[in-house]
Symmetry: C2
Subunit: 412 residues, 2 copies
Amino acid sequence: MKKYLSLACVALCATTAFSQQALWGDTPLASPQINSDNTVTFRVKAPKAKTVKVTGDFLPETVVDIPNYGKVAAPGQADLVEKDGVWEYTTPQALSSEYYCYNVVIDGQKTIDPSNVYINRDVATITNYFIISNDKGDKGDLYKINDVPHGTIRKMWYDSPSLGMQRRLTIYTPAGYETSGKKYPVFYLLHGSGGDEEAWYTQGRISQILDNLIAAGKAVPMIVVMTNGNAYEQATCGESPAGFQQPQMVMGGVKEGMKEAAFELSFPDVRKFVEKNFRTINDKNHRAIAGLSMGSFHSEHISKYYAGEYGYVGLFSGSSVGDGRRGDGKASTSPVYKDFDKQMANLFSAKNKPALYFVAIGKTDFLKKGNDEFLAYMDAHKYPYEYLETEGGHIWRNWRIYFTEFSQKIFK
Amino acid sequence: MKKYLSLACVALCATTAFSQQALWGDTPLASPQINSDNTVTFRVKAPKAKTVKVTGDFLPETVVDIPNYGKVAAPGQADLVEKDGVWEYTTPQALSSEYYCYNVVIDGQKTIDPSNVYINRDVATITNYFIISNDKGDKGDLYKINDVPHGTIRKMWYDSPSLGMQRRLTIYTPAGYETSGKKYPVFYLLHGSGGDEEAWYTQGRISQILDNLIAAGKAVPMIVVMTNGNAYEQATCGESPAGFQQPQMVMGGVKEGMKEAAFELSFPDVRKFVEKNFRTINDKNHRAIAGLSMGSFHSEHISKYYAGEYGYVGLFSGSSVGDGRRGDGKASTSPVYKDFDKQMANLFSAKNKPALYFVAIGKTDFLKKGNDEFLAYMDAHKYPYEYLETEGGHIWRNWRIYFTEFSQKIFK
């Protein structure tokens, strides 16, 4: 046979004409460029723009005043400077070992860095990301993919009779699960409002963290179950029959008309599914539950309402809403939320006491005051707990730290 | 206890300040807006821009002249019109039931639609996407998530001794796999150059297509294995120890210095892993292989070099490079590529003959001529095959059609 068009040429056209554009249309700039001294340079081609800024969690926080809400910490911004149609900014200092996310703002419109293909979606928020690592075992090294045995991430669906729907969850199984024949402990890991079943796997970097901790012998092999805490939806936006709606931010995780504590009351559906579909060790000492923000609220109530089922409890950046209050702070008659004192006493009874009750929050978290009062309540009742306080506020940087700490303390 | 800050408020801050921006900073515009008549409106806020265009596969193709390469079909562009700082374009006609992708071009810079959180990365190319469906069972209905039983998608790693590395793959198992105890046929599905182990799962929509076809009884439950055909890399960019490099487009799938036919020669590693880790039916009649473009090349050579192992072969938008030619068209001494006639004769011998040899290509595919000559070769040797010719070129729209057709013909 004669030689036809070579596959090298096929290569150039294989993905769709979009790729051709990427190849020949506009050569991507090096952005972000991590320099040898760990400063980072951002570049945006926008010849006709008036202003180009970068906003990210590596810049000093500013405070924004939110209409009808008040002042909230927000990531800082830095101005890029234009030369020959390319705007550029280099961080004045080296960035420490960490996972960072950012956006660019062109003439006031927040968007992504057109040269950076690494994008994370957190429900309604699109950000670019990059990692600074120093190979000293610091956070960046823990959050990146190293050449260690890797676990498996499953995106699968379970049936929730309580909520009357199929629902999606994300499950991490440790390296070797498929062939070991062994049974494993299970860690139920819950997201915050405005998050979903993908949050801990994407911004949380939990599969990278656990692969690395388990390979180093610092965490025991475990199954991690990340379900969707928004009881009214089947799955994250765009991954359910609801289609590609504009994501709406979530107020609490239940909606008007839903049964109070709908998620907490449906949680046995998740456990039942996991214990039927995976090789799990089904006792209190091999079952953990933790969550961030709304997920902390869920973990607090699930751990006491189903007292004796979870031997390890983690409350990250949370704040109890107290006796008889539901997620949005309104009065509730749900058995899940009422009789708070009685349920807490039952949780910390000799029979049900968790091996670890772990509370963590940032010094500038807007929930710090509520968390302090919760700790005062714990102290007043002599309920044992471990407490971790970090710098910063209600941010993923802290949740990755809390996950890293908590996951090394459980099932040991 | 007193009432603390309600979780409703936690909700507003739970994800990071980025989400606050999404909430309060800039209200996203409705874009894309699918109108009741299935026309689509795109909106971009860019008060200071000089020009804003949309480019997508729903617009008439244009031809771009690529330096040192020649003319290639590219997606058309349409101009948005500015009013009060918001640029807008509505398609003149209703769009048919289909999965579409697009970008916006602001002052010549290709980027995403800042209001559309639905983004697909195809190696170096970022596009927004949306689906038009008409609930008549057309393509859009097949490509969207419906309320049917859902399979599981696994992102996992296998060991490839031949390539000396851990490598990542994506695996679809049908609904019920986890608990059925049954064994399943396996479909090995290969991507094109410039693609990776995520391509068929993202732009290919294969988990939605199979969930829907299996639920309708049109395809049999099967395991689909999507490996990475670029033999020099462990995983898609950003998902391997190589880190977040700027993705380079792939020339063929091997690199200088690598063993010729490295991917084909390492393919038994994939099969071995799958058959060890999953409940598979291990015979020719329950094993299929197909791929697009470079993946068609791989499927063609793997099916004949390992004659008798794959009972169903699919060549999508491919072009044989003929006797003794490797992927980039250069001469090869690899046993995989040489003795083409002999290997084909062996493949179509009574003992090894596939139950289905399926060839599909688009009328305007730049590989059409090569494919025609390959079919002439098949005819001259009286090798049986099924042929599907569609409108359009070397694009995902066709590959979704070919997958849909092929997956309904196999294992029956």
